[in-house]
């Protein structure tokens, strides 16, 4: 879950996520940092897995399954993603 201590994710991260989510956005809702994967986008477990796999390919990272229960919104995902990318590149 995003907290006040996290740095805000970069616009590039959001743009990349919006693009990847677009392919799975069956509800057609407008994507914002607050959009929720389950409630707003109706992502079920299968879609989540396919979406995560695309993110992994795009950023050349592995997203541990353990993180997923803590992710509700696109911002949550962006924060987690930037942490993983930083750790990989660091």
């Amino acid at each position: 879950m995003a907290t006040g201590n996290d740095h805000a994710p970069s616009p590039e991260t959001f743009a990349a996520l919006y693009e990847l989510i677009g392919g799975f956005n069956k509800t057609g809702v407008t994507l914002t940092p607050e959009t929720r994967f389950s409630e707003d986008l109706n992502f079920d477990s299968l879609v989540v897995m396919e979406f995560v796999a695309e993110v992994e390919d795009r950023f050349d990272i592995s997203v541990p399954l353990n993180l997923l229960p803590d992710i509700t919104t696109i911002t949550d995902f962006a924060v987690a993603l930037e942490k993983i990318v930083a750790a990989e590149r660091g």
Partner: protein
């Protein structure tokens, strides 16, 4: 305030959309009499069972029945205790010795179900700072097991050694052990792991272990029925084998075998082992006898594969889409879930039981009619199964009438 179970509302409405009309559904199939390994009464209808995972048909093996009867009379209906309390009888350790002998391993541990074997081993084997790399199409028991582990869980693309390689490379400089988790035969579609290639990837890196769930391949693959590692000649490269007694072994229970020198410590820390009542003596006795029958079951395996070829060829020949290569699991892909439900009901009404499998429990979001074969299926039964598939598929307009086989009576 929302009701306790409101979060299942989408699932409930999906269920009602498929089954709310009061027709047959998989949750209410009740077998009133088991006629043989391959036939049962469902309602008032004599039904061919083609979805039981009873690959070798050992559920009525006379030797196993006799041993089970004797153990039941001698040891009672249950142990009423866990393996670490009062639930270890001589039969349980005899069965573990039989498993060690069967697989040629130093250690064997028996669990009360296959699900618990996966849940127990996967939740305890790896700890904080370790990594589990699991095939994306692994069984629910593996998902639940790794979820209870303190390790980081990473999925790799189904049966994709290159994707596994990529992910191991990312972890190469990180401390911690890595465990690759695969299945010998994947249960839903019946396809085999690309084991040799996965072993080759494993060997490129340090501190990597391999666990294979051989639930659907023990008894089925290998000259002596030890599963895919035996068939592929790489048993020494598989560090842990998990399996079940509820498929080819014809009863219930699970196990893990390994040569890891410290394996026995798992008996103290594996909670699904420590805190579950052990298997009843009759079950243990029949499992032990059937392991021996599996080891010498070359003729059964030959019959099973011949049956698999016949059903695969028969259903493919009708023009149905079969998702797998020739294997004891033959999964027919329906165009959508609603059609799959109607197809499944049509088969059941005509006296053929298969498994109905719907997304999200299936790979690729497939809606499937999953048949599994038994060595005890006769030619006539297979002809009837193929004929019923033809009739139902034709009446639903899924295949062209001219492709329908001649009626088999």
């Amino acid at each position: 305030m929302a009701d306790l179970l409101d979060r299942f509302a989408p699932l409930m409405s999906q269920r009602d959309a498929f089954f709310g009309d009061g027709g047959a559904d998989p949750f209410s199939v009740r077998m009133t009499e088991i006629l043989s390994q391959t036939e049962a009464m469902i309602g008032n209808r004599r039904t061919i069972l083609a979805g039981t995972n009873n690959y070798l048909g050992l559920t009525f093996a006379p030797e196993a029945l006799e041993a089970a009867h004797a153990a039941l009379d001698a040891g009672g209906t249950g142990t009423t205790g866990s393996r670490v309390a009062n639930g270890t009888y001589a039969g349980h350790t005899d069965l573990e010795e039989a498993l060690k002998d069967f697989f040629g391993t130093d250690h064997a541990m028996v669990f009360s179900t296959g699900f618990l074997a996966n849940a127990g081993i996967l939740s305890t084997l790896m700890g904080q700072g370790d990594y589990i790399l699991m095939d994306a199409d692994c069984h629910a028991s593996i998902y639940d097991g790794v979820r209870a582990s303190a390790a980081e869980i990473i999925r790799f693309k189904h049966n994709d050694p290159a994707d596994l390689d990529k992910r191991l490379a990312r972890l190469a400089n990180k401390p911690g052990n890595k465990l690759i988790v695969i299945e010998g035969i994947y249960s839903v579609l019946g396809n085999k792991a690309r084991l040799k290639e996965i072993v080759a990837v494993k060997k490129k890196y340090e501190n990597v272990y391999l666990l294979s769930d051989e639930a659907h391949s023990v008894g089925v693959l290998g000259k002596y029925g030890r599963g895919l590692p035996e068939q592929e000649g790489c048993e020494e490269d598989v560090d842990f084998i998990v399996g079940t007694f509820s498929k080819s072994v014809g009863t219930v229970g699970g196990f893990c075998v390994s040569n890891h020198p410290q394996f026995p410590i798992l008996r103290l820390v594996c909670r699904p082992y420590v805190f579950t009542a052990s298997l009843p003596p009759s079950v243990v006795a029949s499992a032990r006898v059937n392991l021996g029958l599996i080891k010498n079951g070359g003729a059964l395996r030959t019959r099973l594969m011949r049956n698999a070829q016949k059903l695969h060829a028969g259903l493919t020949g009708l023009g149905l889409k079969v998702a797998s290569d020739v294997s004891p699991v033959v999964a027919v892909v329906a165009p959508d879930p609603q059609t799959a439900v109607a197809f499944w009901r049509g088969l059941l009404e005509a006296g053929v039981y298969v498994n109905l499998m719907l997304p999200p429990a299936t790979p690729h979001g497939y809606a499937l009619l999953r048949a599994s074969l038994c060595a005890a299926h006769t030619e006539e039964q297979l002809d009837e199964i193929i004929g019923v598939f033809a009739d139902v598929a034709t009446s639903m307009g899924l295949i062209e009438p001219q492709r329908k086989r001649a009626a088999t009576g």
